[in-house]
Symmetry: C2
Subunit: 158 residues, 2 copies
Amino acid sequence: MYEERDWPLVWPIIEDIVRKADTFCYDPHQTEAQAHEMWVTPPPGHVVVAVEDHAVLGTANMYPNRPGPGAHIASGNFMVAPGARGRGVGRALGEYLLGWARADGFRGVQFNAVAASNTPAVGLYERLGFTIIGTVPGAFWHPTHGPVGLHIMYHNLS
Amino acid sequence: MYEERDWPLVWPIIEDIVRKADTFCYDPHQTEAQAHEMWVTPPPGHVVVAVEDHAVLGTANMYPNRPGPGAHIASGNFMVAPGARGRGVGRALGEYLLGWARADGFRGVQFNAVAASNTPAVGLYERLGFTIIGTVPGAFWHPTHGPVGLHIMYHNLS
């Protein structure tokens, strides 16, 4: 469970990822205050951190994907600290998100924009049970690869 | 081109559609102020109205679909007044959106959540050149049909 005192350890993870702009569709020039507003989704949204020995290894947020008639489908995002990758942190956060969504009665979880070039994330989501619903061609402008596809991925929970 | 003086004629169109909650994933209980914030997207977003004899027949908004590495793809929404449907207003608004997106250098236009039950909209978008990229099963909770699919639709402009 994220608490505001965690932010100084969460922000460096987010800052590294948004500035690189090679995985997420976030504004790479956003300020720390904008990042806080973007990441720390208010209730019914939920934010967690993966912690080991007072270090934050990763963070996830989760929330209804859309209002009104779309509010029974959840969405969310994961970020893992560069030094903590390959250790199952992303998988633990993903399993947490699925458990949270099930417990809150969501019928499924949708990721709206997974860069096709982010093969570790795509592979992790597939191992978690997500499938690629479709791919918008060239919708992610990768800083070195140029335009790559953006996957819409979905995990049914009903 | 939308101007603030148009709002009193735009809001009844939006209110009818959001309260019915049978086409769009908007909060059906939103206030007029929330609807204004939702619909009147600030620059680089753009809002237009279709006007005939001082009556507003429909409205559209348009904007970059995502920030940062996704900002080269546009998105948008159309609403047509109940009494003006079947007269080509939606088609005119759609053609306007595609022209705006081309002129502003967008590489494509993506609709993120088109209810599969909204067959007039799906048909219009297909006639405008959009294709269905994928469908998230049951992601739209229709007030009478229950869960129906949400299409992701895309029109390449590059």
